[in-house]
Symmetry: C2
């Protein structure tokens, strides 16, 4: 019996797995690398890979058995799998590629540089090549792009005994396909039912599939979107849904786990964009040039946004000079309002994800945020106003700072709550754009409030 606390996947605690892997490769005897990866697990291996130096990375695939190499690639992001295949000789790459599952084949194929894709396709078994090209035609986040071609189907006239006998002879395949359901087809490969292994288990030998199956099964077309699929898997506890082409022929199966993975990937990418990592995943083993350029592309947009807030201050420079103590509180107003607005953004994004609000519910959200904004604005305004008074000894300074913060909190939660809905409605990614829009508007508004109030009351 295994106790997870004792299944430490590394060797000696002070030798890192990637160092052990490099040693394996250095000893020239690549055959060791395969069992080593198996031992540490392919998920851990995929992590270690990112810490290998380039020379070792490039040699790894050719050292492994094609099955082991393919298993490793299945655990890597598509971009990384593609780059590993590109740095391997086409013949070796082809033998690894043939061991990949059909959906990974398609994903990797569209990620390869065109000239490398051609070299690879030329080295492949033409049947595998055609199948991969076929699948690669589907958009990635659709049923066609997510489905696998590996499934089991039988004609509706086949008997339980025939099916069991055939399964028995294909037991290896059955294992590989992680089969939960067997599909039953009628004329022209049209899907007419789903047969569960457990129903086959309890069946009389001579019963035909048509009497054992669950009829009128749920299915999707190849162009069903990721959101369609997510809704279906959420509503029903299926592990896979059959996919039909335009002529209603069964062409593949979308597995729940692949839909979940695609959803995770999309959510993760949106989270990274919200924090300014735009244009693709960044991991620190990637080239410096790529990392710098991607980050800078986002930061330079940010300079332009900042000019708006800077202009407000520039226009009120004289006021600020005569009430210089206000400069102490401007960053605080800016930061506090930003935080209040961000809280509202977070709740809106969460409610959009859960489907509790829809892009059309702008007024509902605004009303709910105004309530919080009134309470929190009043509380924060009084708190920071008193603080300003106590610190600088000027009650009117407290009034200016407090009122500016109170009103700007109301503005910030309104913007923060409503902007994600509006962006979604106009098909702009709310994760990417909500933050910058919020910061720019709350800064402009906060500085304007504070400086206008100051010029009226304090000068």
């Amino acid at each position: 019996m295994n106790d997870p606390s004792t299944t430490e996947p590394f060797g000696p605690a002070n030798t890192k797995p990637w160092e052990q892997l490099e040693e394996c490769l250095d000893r020239g005897d690549g055959a060791e690398a395969g069992p080593f990866l198996e031992r540490i697990g392919y998920a851990e291996a995929a992590r270690s890979l990112s810490r290998l130096d380039r020379r070792h990375r490039e040699r790894l695939l050719s050292c492994l058995e094609p099955e082991a190499a393919a298993e490793l690639l299945e655990h890597l992001p598509d971009a990384e799998s593609a780059s590993m295949l590109e740095s391997t000789e086409p013949e070796v790459a082809a033998s690894v590629f043939e061991e990949l599952s059909s959906d990974t084949q398609a994903d990797v194929l569209v990620t390869l540089q065109p000239e490398n894709a051609e070299a690879l396709l030329a080295a492949l078994d033409p049947v595998v090549a055609d199948a991969a090209i076929d699948l690669a035609k589907f958009a990635p986040d659709t049923a066609g792009g997510l489905m696998v071609r590996e499934f089991l189907s039988y004609d509706q006239r086949d008997s339980a005994a025939q099916i069991v006998n055939d399964l028995r002879s294909r037991i290896g395949e059955v294992e590989d396909y992680a089969v939960q359901y067997i599909y039953v087809t009628g004329p022209r490969a049209g899907l007419v039912g789903v047969l569960r292994l457990r129903d086959l288990l309890f069946a009389r030998n001579m019963k035909p599939a048509s009497e054992l199956m669950i009829g009128d099964p749920l299915s999707v077309r190849t162009d069903a979107t990721l959101d369609d699929l997510a809704d279906l898997f959420e509503a029903r506890s299926f592990l896979g849904i059959p996919v039909l082409d335009e002529s209603f022929a069964l062409v593949g199966v979308v597995h729940k786990r692949d839909v979940d993975a695609a959803l995770d990937e999309r959510a993760e990418s949106s989270r990274m964009r919200a924090q300014g990592i735009v244009g693709g995943e960044e991991l620190r083993f990637m080239p410096l040039r790529l990392r710098s350029v991607r980050r800078l592309s986002w930061l330079s947009v940010n300079i332009l946004l900042n000019l708006a807030a800077a202009s407000v201050i520039a226009m009120h420079q004289d006021t600020l000079q005569s009430v210089i103590v206000l400069a102490v509180f401007l960053p605080m107003i800016s930061d506090m309002s930003g935080c209040s607005g961000n809280q509202a953004v977070a709740v809106s994004m969460r409610e959009l994800t859960l489907g509790i609000v829809r892009p059309i519910d702008v007024l509902y959200v605004w009303r709910k945020e105004l309530q919080v904004g009134l309470v929190n604005g009043a509380a924060l305004g009084v708190l920071v106003g008193l603080l300003a008074w106590a610190w600088q000894g000027d009650p009117m300074l407290g009034v200016v700072v407090g009122v500016a913060l109170a009103v700007n909190t109301l503005v910030a939660v309104s913007i923060g709550g409503v902007v994600p809905l509006l962006l979604q409605r106009f098909k702009v990614d709310p994760a990417l754009a909500s933050g910058p829009i919020l910061t720019t508007l709350t800064d402009v508004c906060g500085f304007l409030l504070a400086l206008t109030l100051a010029s009226a009351i304090l000068t």
Copy 2:
């Protein structure tokens, strides 16, 4: 054949599902509500629920059949399920509770107010009550807290035919348990193997389970953590793992989907904390008081952090007054550095999640961030420096602003990259604390740099 594009879950497009549900309840005939929920799907129903007014929410559970009510609760957050049960009479609540899966029972039980939990337990079948209390003792994010007690196990001496016959007689249960594996036990309920349905399918009638099973199965103890479980499910493609108690007896099964759900919940909660929603989930149908207080508790900590940056400006007020134009650029330095730092935080959080870096890799991360910081700091410094010169016509102002931003970018990416690792190492939630620490330190450092440089060069 179903096409998802035609399976619109709502009725007429202009009547919202919660309005239809309210009408159902208002017509007095609650029996309609059950089929209505079934028709729109329980996931959609869970969403609609948040838009019902209180009166209708409170009446809903008592209108439904216990099975339907339980199915609905399975789709709600535990806090919401508990509050729905609390507003229902204990006898009705008990009959609904008995239909919940064992893990949901335990989760809901610990979420109820103590006096309500007692009332519910008193109204329950004692066997159900004891089982729920037993399960509720386990910490929520452990194998004990995540496992279900519903599983199938047979003695190793049972034959294939005996097992199939018994399964046949319990087909309803088998359906409910979503069975993939059957567990095989030896003396004292000790787990000795796992039997797959498909192996049973191909078995000779008289073979005992001990010859059909896969021996020495992977298992966990009740105290295995969520991270242990995540690692196991990531490394192996299992749908469930058996759970053993201190005496190695089989007591439950942890399903992959429950581990995935717990991981999602944890990630979501950490994401919300990163954006200042602290102390529990906020959804806009929650009471205003709760929403305001939770948000304020976080904002008031933020005031204290802001005082650090404000103090820097207060100490250099004279410098600022004599070079008032610098006030135009201070918010820009603060915001740009914050953005650069946030990018580094995002990459560190991502790499921590993927396991590519570990809390001990501080130096590796710092080195990688310094490289980006040098390039991006130089680029941004030159850009903003030239901008300041061009806008205000003072080359030395450009130097002060540019140098301050360049150096502060280096500081920001260092802090942003390293702080999440340090926090993780000292067991502080990096999602919660990285942002505020970053903002405070970069503001203090940026203002200090700009104002000190200005007092040396510009005054």
